[in-house]
Symmetry: C2
Subunit: 215 residues, 2 copies
Amino acid sequence: MNKRRSQKERSAETSAKLMSSTIDLLHDQGITRTTTSDIARHAGVSRGALTHHFASREAVIGASVAEMLSKTARDLHRFAEDFMARGGSSDEIVDYIWQMMDDRLFYVTMEFLPEARHNDDFRADLIPTVREFHAGLDAIWTALAARAGAEPNHTRTVMNATMCLVRGMISQTVLRPDDPVYYASLLQFWKGQVRQHFPIEPAEPASAGSAARIR
Amino acid sequence: MNKRRSQKERSAETSAKLMSSTIDLLHDQGITRTTTSDIARHAGVSRGALTHHFASREAVIGASVAEMLSKTARDLHRFAEDFMARGGSSDEIVDYIWQMMDDRLFYVTMEFLPEARHNDDFRADLIPTVREFHAGLDAIWTALAARAGAEPNHTRTVMNATMCLVRGMISQTVLRPDDPVYYASLLQFWKGQVRQHFPIEPAEPASAGSAARIR
DNA sequence: CGATAAAAACAGCCTTGCTTGTTTGCAAGA
DNA sequence: TCTTGCAAACAAGCAAGGCTGTTTTTATCG
């Protein structure tokens, strides 16, 4: 509508479109099949615009991934605050994490992880953002630990195990597709395990219908 | 030594060298950086030899991965037999699985998983071999269940959780490197959890020094 | 305020290097 | 000799990065 936009606005908007497109394509067609032309086309700009904003293909991908992780970290902090305020259950946390990871986050991660493993610069640029992401996770589990009066160190172990389990589950969906029951039951099992470590409110079994929504 | 080899021998040997080189390169430099020239050079043959044995790049990689999984499945069955014969502990199984996955298996898997996700033919060719691999796993845990008198279904759940956990742990090593203590303690935690489900021999705590060898 | 210069955002082409699959040539074993 | 295993040159496509030209916004000056 507003025809005249400042340069900063134009620039930020184009960058954002490019980064969001990059994540879309990483998820939909994989990192190897995603060319800079694809990214520009999907964002509705020229390849020239892309090279104007990002020095190289590696740079677009790196920036896009960092952006995605930052955004997710912010979401985590918001959830932690909310969780702390109303006092949720550990089951809820497991569900939230599964949904977050299954909602593209870890599928996109699986795309760039090999690149990170073999490209030292790429990996080094990423690590700070990953730490930021983990701080978001910490916030959630710290909230739970405070509520259940659990030891922080042990809480962190359970948190890390949960993250690893979910990562592994999503990896498996690639070569074991179309089996929602399998993943739901694994998640159910895991919630039981976690509950052991945070023995809070028995919670009326009537409303136990918060089963995991899978895929 | 033996100068004269039959054609079959020559052929099989060259194929084996090519497949083994492919796995080496997938692990060392990643799937995207691995060209057919690289594979041939590493195997000490010409690119012509490679194309003689495999129709395409995709074919070499697919065959190499299938070969790797088959071999690992055979190892699993051997371990299961041995385990059954002498009656080992659940800790031992967790250690064995970690070592197996950390010894290149899952690093290589991380390389081809994205390809499998986006290439239907590649994935379809792989799935039978993956099932074969899982049969090997089943053999081990069935042995344990029989020994501990546990319910097979529940055993399978613990097994699947273990596999997912280890997959996730190895994924994490990429962006959280050089922290063996972290991975060792997670594994330690998990062994405790698994032990709960298979309450067998308390085992003299004197020889509890079978801690995980990490990386 | 209006014109104009400068800078930034953007478009599109072009070249180069790399990789893959194909084809041709040759030697070793059946 | 005839097939099979391998070597090496060949052909073609593609994608990334670099380069040049155009439009839009911002700054400067009369």
